[in-house]
Amino acid sequence: MRVPLTIRELPREKYVLPGHAACPGCPEAMGLRYVGMALGRRAILVIPAGCTSIIQGLSPGSGLAFPILNVAFASSDAVAAGVSVAKEILGEDAVVVVWAGDGATSDIGFATLSGAAERGDNIIHICVDNEAYMNTGIQRSSQTPRGAWTTTTWRGKAEPKKNMPLIMLSHGVPYVATASIAYPLDFIEKLRRASTIRGFKYIHLHAPCPVGWRFDPSETVEIARLAIETGMWVLFEAERGKVTISPPSRPYADKSRRKPIYEYIKRQGRFRNITEELIKELEKEVDEYWSILIKLSSQ
């Protein structure tokens, strides 16, 4: 029986420093605070090109207080593998973490991600997913949901969101989890658990972006929560392939308890051109994904 974490137990050392360069209401900055709370001084971050490259601010200063290797876009997991192997050779205790956006994870960095997963490199890959190439000005990625506006999909993306959690489950790695910045304690627990496991760990962090999704910066947590409440994003973890739906998502295994998808969609300007038909498609996707997860979690 796991004793749940409380806010009071969280360390208050700042790994994300005031005065960094993130937009107001940025979910990546929030996520990085939780990485600091979960892993502290043990963390070494490998960061491919993305919003966080900029959030650090201008050298010779940095708004993040981790040891960081900023790296080329397609290289992150391989670099992290090398760092991890070196630390073991040197007998130094370290948790090597890739902090990669959705583009760096599921598009340009897909090969390096899959390679590291298949090899079982001893790293944690966190995909901080704001569902587009936000750093370069909101262009579509494979993680952009169907129907969403981006600067390269003005009428809304035609293709569905590529299902990275299922893809990573198929890699047979020892730990796969999804998380959300609306549920920091859940994310921190998952990070800490991942750090105790040897091998390749994948955590997919849902990160609603006020600028790219078109909502007020004060609503970041609300939107992230709505994703869970509508079933559009599911929190789960899988240790050695055994899937457990996480407590915040459990009520929504029952479709009748999910809020209508429109509750989530209508709050985001990027879905302003959504049609009834598209909402039905999205609903179908949600149902299918849930049924797979429920099946996997009952095995």
Binding site: R41, R42, A43, I44, V46, S53, I54, Q56, G57, L58, S59, P60, G61, S62, L64, A65, F66, P67, I68, L69, N70, V71, A72, A74, S75, S76, D77, A78, V79, A80, A81, G82, V83, S84, V85, A86, K87, E88, I89, L90, E92, D93, A94, V95, A111, T112, S114, G115, E118, R119, D121
Partner: protein, 392 residues
Amino acid sequence: MVRLTLTGNYCVAYAVKLSRVKVVSAYPITPQTTIVEKISEMVDEGEADIKMIRVESEHSALSAVYGAASAGVRSFTATSSHGLLYMHEMVWWVAQARVPLVMAVVTRTIGPPWNIWTDHHDIMGQRDTGWLIAMTENNQEVLDETIKLFKITEDPDVYLPGIIGLDAFVLSHTVEPVEVPDQDVVDSFLPERRQPYVIKAGDPLIMGNIPSDLVRNAKMRWDVHVGLRSAEEVIERVDREWGKLTGRYYGGLAECYRCGDSKYLLIGVGSWVGDMRIAVDSLRDEGYPVGLLKIRYIRPFPVRRVYEAVRGSKGVIVFDRSISAGSAGPLFLDVASHIHALRLGVPVKNVVAGLAGVDVGYRDFQLIVRRFVEEVEREGWVTEFLEFYPGR
């Protein structure tokens, strides 16, 4: 010391083992594969204490060794041709991050069409990146220079990564007798690894975020050049040291072969320099006053050695095994521009040959050089400064 008959690729593997490399990551490509296969075998036989990261691409190969090297351990990779091109982005990254590491490039031509034989297009494409680039003539040199490169790249006056180049099949897969030094000899020669910074847990050091001061960034880039220029003295010193230890001194940045009293100078790089030597000897017998400057390091480019060898010559002929399409051969471009900058008004001819693996032997060199000398003697200059020698 033990005498073995080894291919060039196996020489690289032995050098990597003797240099106490800790991490190797590589992706297979002909004709590099036997380097990594040999290292794998050494590891599985317990002869070498190396962690191998068997990556899914060359881009990841250099990324993995870059990660390991940034984190503090001596690391190595190897590639060729398309693999080198695929990791080209990371080649720049490693140099500008100033992380010392060594990479073997088995020089192979670039497609299409698919072609596994040698020319120098792949390695020449790296000359702007800031890496040291050494080229070899024979397998003994491959073994020796690979070990030396670990020492040179990890010198605080350098702190840049280095490439050891060896020609596909001519060296990589051809067996030659070599002297393999003992481990304790190499241990006395190679100090503990040094590097300008190490990424470690608990020490919040950040590498690579955007600079507030572009002038500082510009200085970083210029400092890569300064590092390469400082490497010249280190290369010479380390070669002399190696010479004292093993009896084999290679001349540092370049070797002057019968060029002290020559009137016509051949300049070349790579395995075909061996054929140039033979051609020089036989042409001398015929009465042609020729000499050879063997370039050992493409980068840093040995400006002073070239100047000293060229000064007093009546003509220089530079052999390139690649072409910077639309201009001329890269070695010629480096030679001609620098000697002009240093005010030497000597005719320089560029002969581009051996592309796509076309074999060029001493008879070809004899032919070409005879024609060149006769032309300069007759005209006082070269009529065509760029010539393509397609082969016989």
